[in-house]
Every structure is written in C-alpha cells, then in structure tokens.
C-alpha cells in the first residue's frame, strides 16, 4: 500500500512557482515566505474573504483567460505626455517602453535591481506590506513579495509633471504575472502614476508607496478590459506629515477582481483619498468586484476619504469592505467613507461591510452605504427632454459615478476616464 503525500494548497501554489532568489530583495522575500507559511492562503472562512472566494486566486495554475480588444478605441492615456513602461504578460518590454532616465526620477526595474545586493528600495520592498499584515492578514500580498518576478522601483526627488504610465498588456491566455512596485516620494516631491491593462490571465500586483512629508502622489488606474481575467492587487501606502495620497481606480469587466488598499497615515495633517468606479455586466462573463480598504489614522488632523461606487447588471456582484481605524491620540481626524451600488436589474448583488473603529475622542468620522436602482423619475425627466432612453441611462450612470471621478485632480485625466466609462456604457446597452 502506498501512501499518497497530499500537498497543502500553499505547497501546491509554491511548487508551481519559479521563486526568484532576489538580490537586494532576498531577505524580504525570505521573510515573506515565512509570513506566508504562518498565515496560509486565504479561505472563505477568513473574516475578510467571506464575500469573495479566493480559490481562483490561490490555485496553482491560472484559469485561462481570452484577451479582448475594443475596436476603434485609442489606447487610454495615449494623448498624454508621459513615461511609458510596458509589461507584456508580466515581462518588461524595453522596446515598447520609454527611456527610464527622467528628471527628478530614479527608475529601475526590479529584475535588474535584484542583480545587486544594495539598493535604496531594500528599505521599502516588502516593508509596507509587512506592516499592512496587522491587524488583518493579506496572504496574497506576502506571496507577491516572495514571488514577484519584476516590477518598477521609482524614487521621486522633485515635483515631476510627466506621469509615469505602467501598461500591462495581456497576450497569452494562461499568463500569470506577479509584479511588485515600490515608489518612494522624497519630501515635497510629486508624482502621478497611471496604470492600465489586464496584465495577464491572472494578475497579482503589489504597489508600495511611501509618501514623505509634504509630498504628493496621484494614482489613476484603469483596470480590466478582458472579461475573463482575474486579479488581486494590493496598495500599501504610508503617508507622512502634510503629504497627500490620492488613488482612483476604474474597473470595467473581469471575472474576479480583489483590490485592497491599506493606508497608514503616519504624519500630522496627512490626506489620503481612495476612490473606485466599477462597472460589471454579467451577461458577457461573470463579474465579481471587491474593494477592500483599510485606513489607519495614527497622527493628528488627518483627512481620509473612501468613495466607492459600483454599477452592476446581469448577475454582477460588488463587494465593499472599508475600515477606518483611528488610533489613540489621532485627534481631529476627519474620516469619510461612502460605498454605493447602482443595480441596473434585479439579479445583481452588492455586499457592503463598512467599519469604524475609533480610539480618539475628538474626531469626525462618517460612513454610508447604499444600494439602489436607477431613478425612474430622473430617467423620465431626461427622456421628456428628448434624450433617448439608452443615452439617458448612460447619463444617469455617469452622474452616479461622478463623485468618484471628481477625486481625480487633473482635468484631462478626469475627462479621459469619463470617456472610457461612457464608451463602456454604450457597449453594454440592453
């Protein structure tokens, strides 16, 4: 009688990976593996995975995903003067990318930087992820730190007007990229980071952002496009005194998306805004979208905003789990959170879990969560003015999403995102 040795899911996952040894990142990678071993992969019994089944994000192999091209559409952000860094199925494409040298920026590829043992990013790589593991475990982020094959490391030393644009092309139906980026904004510097593209059949991405005192970071992401792709992404940010962190994500399509955002407001008068607009149509492929946000106020007079909206149709599912934690002494904190969903038909669902945990007495915190259908009165009003039904619906959906788009400071980028949302809506009329 032979005894079958049964692998745990984590062992199976790790066995399927070609773990890079790492240079400067080697200690962080080793520590991440230890963390991961202690945590195990996430499961539906975990408190923050009740609404989203992580099985396909855990699985040893990526479920296949067809690519999807939108005809007659210019690539997003194409009209903007920016530094493009292109990854195809997670592999850096130097030919398609711009020169990495730019004023006020030090950009290197993780894969290159890992050829040496000394790099400025060694203080950051995995550090914010590690800090973000308490009080809530985020095993897929630890997996990322251990297993990331590439990414970009950006040090910002001045106010940089040209955005850096990370483009994630998806060409292979079974690609399974794991990318890890570190961005360090030195005091009073400024950077806009753009991201878009499905990246692969399954994408695991971590972005660690350290925003030093007085620095400003703007992040605009257009995620999705491919209907069948799956993604788990984490943003870990540390926001210093009088620093600003702003992140906006548009998600359209995607069988499964889990976007986590973990923000530590460590300096007084820090500002952090996170916003998301998600659009899902279950008629084309399943759509399950999960925003999980954790903002910790650890200093005085911090301002945080979470603005998340989802537009769901044909059986699509939206999840929002958002927490504001105000630590003792974080007086005068101003924390705001809103999550709303617009259900365009009856068989969609929205699952919301807003949380406030406050240990300081002089704070202003509020949260709200709503689920609703399209306003029939407003729809009739528009139609009575001659606006055709479908166009009126689009207008109302865009008006529903307006608060999230308003979180994008730059007008050109705001218009670009609005145009994409509008185009999606016109492709998904009943």
């Amino acid at each position: 009688m032979s005894v079958a040795v049964k692998q745990t899911p984590l062992e199976a996952r790790l066995a399927a990976l070609d773990l890079p040894k790492g240079g400067f990142s080697a200690p962080a990678r080793a520590a991440a593996l230890d963390r991961l071993a202690a945590m195990g992969l996430p499961g539906v019994r975990d408190e923050y995975w009740r609404y989203t089944n992580p099985a396909e994000l855990n699985a040893a192999g990526a479920p296949r995903a067809k690519t999807f091209e939108v005809k007659d559409e210019e690539p997003i952000f194409d009209a903007i003067d920016r530094i493009r860094l292109v990854f195809v199925d997670g592999v850096f494409d130097a030919d398609a990318s711009d020169d990495l040298a730019a004023e006020g920026l030090e950009i290197s590829r993780l894969a290159d930087a890992d050829g040496t043992d000394i790099h400025w990013a060694s203080a950051l790589y995995g550090a914010l992820e590690t800090a973000g593991q308490t009080p809530v475990a985020r095993p897929l982020a630890a997996l990322n730190t251990a297993a990331a094959t590439d990414g970009v490391l950006i040090r910002v030393t001045a106010k940089v007007s040209k955005p850096v644009h990370l483009i994630y092309a998806h060409k292979s139906e079974d690609s399974d990229p794991i990318l890890h980026h570190c961005i360090k904004l030195e005091e009073n510097s400024e950077l806009t980071l753009l991201e878009n593209g499905p990246a692969g059949a399954r994408f695991n991405k971590v972005l660690e952002v350290d925003v030093a005192a007085g620095a400003r970071f703007h992040h605009i992401r257009a995620q999705g496009r491919d209907h069948e792709r799956r993604a788990v992404t984490h943003i870990f940010a540390r926001v210093g005194a009088e620093a600003l962190f702003k992140s906006f994500t548009m998600t359209a399509n995607g069988v499964l998306t889990r976007n986590e955002c973990v923000i530590d407001m460590v300096g007084d008068d820090a500002v952090a805004h996170v916003a998301g607009a998600a659009l899902g149509d279950g008629a084309v492929a399943e759509f399950h979208h999960d925003d999980t946000v954790f903002i910790t106020h650890g200093a005085e007079r911090g301002e945080s905003r979470q603005v998340f909206k989802k537009v769901l149709k044909h059986g699509a599912t939206g999840v929002f789990q958002g927490k504001i934690l105000v630590k003792p002494g974080a007086q005068k904190t101003d924390g705001y959170q809103i999550s709303q969903s617009l259900l365009l038909d009856d068989d969609c669902q929205f699952l919301g879990k807003p949380e406030l945990e406050i240990y300081a007495d002089d704070v202003k915190c509020s949260h709200g969560s709503t689920t609703g259908a399209l306003d029939e009165t407003a729809l009739f009003y528009l139609r009575s003015r001659g606006v055709p039904h479908d166009q009126a619906v689009s207008l109302l959906v865009l008006s529903f999403l307006a608060d999230t788009i308003a979180e994008i400071e730059d007008e050109t980028l705001r218009d670009e995102i609005s145009a994409r949302l509008e185009a999606w809506l016109s492709r998904h009329r009943d």
Binding site: Y381, G386, P388
Partner: protein, 256 residues
C-alpha cells in the same frame, strides 16, 4: 395642434381611475389654461401626454399635429414638439445643467435629422436665453436643479423650453412657489415664445399666473373631467368665488 378625445386613464398598479373622459382641442397659436382643485387630475393629464410610466390609457386618444401621441416613447414625443414644464422639476446630481441642455437639444436635432449644434453655437444661444431669464453662468454649470431654489427650478424649466423650441408647451403649475418677480420673469419667458405656430396649455391652481400669460380659453377640471370651458373671464370667476360653486353645479362635492 393637440387633440384629446375621451381620454380615460387609470393607475397601472391599482384600479383607480383618474382621468374619466377628457376632451380638449387646442388650435395652433392659442393659449389654453386648465384650472381646478388639487387632485382633479391636471398633473396626470400632463404626465400621460408626456409619456410617463405608471398609467394605463383605458380609452380615448391624443394626437399631436395628427400623430398618435400615446403610441410614442417620451423622447419621440419631445422630438415631435411636445414639452412639459414639470410641477416638480427633477434634480440630477452629477449632470451639469449645460451638459443636460446640450444633450437634449442635440438629441432632438438628431431625431429630426438636423445637424448637431457645435459647442460654440450652442453656448452663444444658451447664454442669450439664460440672460433673459436671469439665469447666470453659475447656474448653468451646477448639476441640474440641485440646490436650486423653487424659483430657479421653474426658470430652468422655461430655459429648457426656450432652447428646445417645442410646438406644444404644457406648463404644470409653473407658478407654484414663485414670488411676484420670479413669476413675471417666467411669464415674460413664456410670452416671448408665443407665436402663431406654437400652443400652450397652462395648468394652474390659481388665477395669478393668467394675469401675466393671457389665455384664449380657460377650462375647469374636476374629478378627472373638464367640467366647464370659457374665456378668460372664467378664471376671474374662479378667483372671486372659488371652485365650490362650479363644482356644486356639476354635482361634485368639492374639496379644494
């Protein structure tokens, strides 16, 4: 212009008849007023003509310049030349007033096979019309009706009407919530649009507005029917004696 024959309407959801045989014939270039106590069915009539959901036409017909109105989608009725100034204009957060106006104007032009107006052309026209209604640039930028006062909302309705240049204008209690100055602005806006090819149906509870917008014909509506029709003097009669006498004469126990 507008021909309504024996119109019977009930609520879709329940067995409640609201309009019980309305007949109305409005000639091009004329101004008709409908007066009547609250609950008599005036708003319902305007909604049914504009195509709002929730009502069921059980009998009768309505045509606009010979076209069957009740068969059309609301946007088709608008493109055919019908306009309803709402009793309660709707707030649409997130949609700029200007965007809304331009979308509406261009949608109608498109439906009629006309070229869309360029942003520049549109701006010029809208600015001039807004100015005459004392609607400033700020109000044009704000989301549709959001945070507008009652008077601002009603002026905004008239601005939409002026921009869309409909043939048949229905004004549902446009005077309610207006002070004297605002009422004059609204009335001037309406009067500026009066011409031989355009008709108006002015719905009002009070005679006040009719001092400024002089009607050719006045109808009294009660309990889902037009019970009396006359000249402008009928409005004055209502003003002096109230509705009770007229209602009693038609065997309707009046609640005002």
């Amino acid at each position: 212009m507008l021909e309504i024959k024996n119109l019977h309407v009930k609520l879709e959801e329940e067995d409640k008849a609201i309009l019980k045989g309305v007949d109305l014939s409005i000639a091009p270039g004329t101004v008709h007023a409908i007066m009547g106590p609250n609950g008599s069915g005036k708003s319902t009539l305007s909604y049914v003509l504009a195509g709002r959901e929730g009502y069921e036409v059980t009998d009768g017909s309505a045509t606009l310049m010979g076209e069957e109105l009740l068969e059309m989608e609301p946007e088709e009725r608008a493109a055919a030349g019908l306009f309803l100034a709402f009793q309660y204009p709707v707030e649409i957060p997130g949609v700029g007033n200007m965007t809304f106006l331009r979308t509406a104007v261009n949608a109608q032009r498109k439906a009629r096979g006309e070229d869309e107006l360029s942003a520049g052309e549109f701006l010029k026209v809208v600015r001039a019309k807004a100015a005459s209604l004392k609607i400033d640039a700020e109000m044009l930028k704000r989301p549709v009706n959001v945070g507008f006062s009652g008077g601002e909302k009603k002026r905004n309705e008239i601005l939409q009407m002026a921009m869309l240049e409909p043939k048949m204008c229905i004004l549902d209690e446009t005077d309610s919530g207006l002070d004297v100055d605002a009422m004059r602005l609204v009335a001037d806006g309406v009067n500026a649009l009066r011409d031989a090819g355009r008709s108006f149906l002015v719905i009002t509870h009070y005679q006040r507005l009719l001092d400024h917008i002089k009607p050719d014909i006045v109808h009294i509506m009660a309990d889902g029917r037009i019970i009396k029709t006359g000249g402008p003097e009928l409005a004055l009669e209502v003003e002096q004696n109230g509705y009770a006498e007229i209602l009693a004469a038609h065997g309707i126990e009046g609640v005002l």
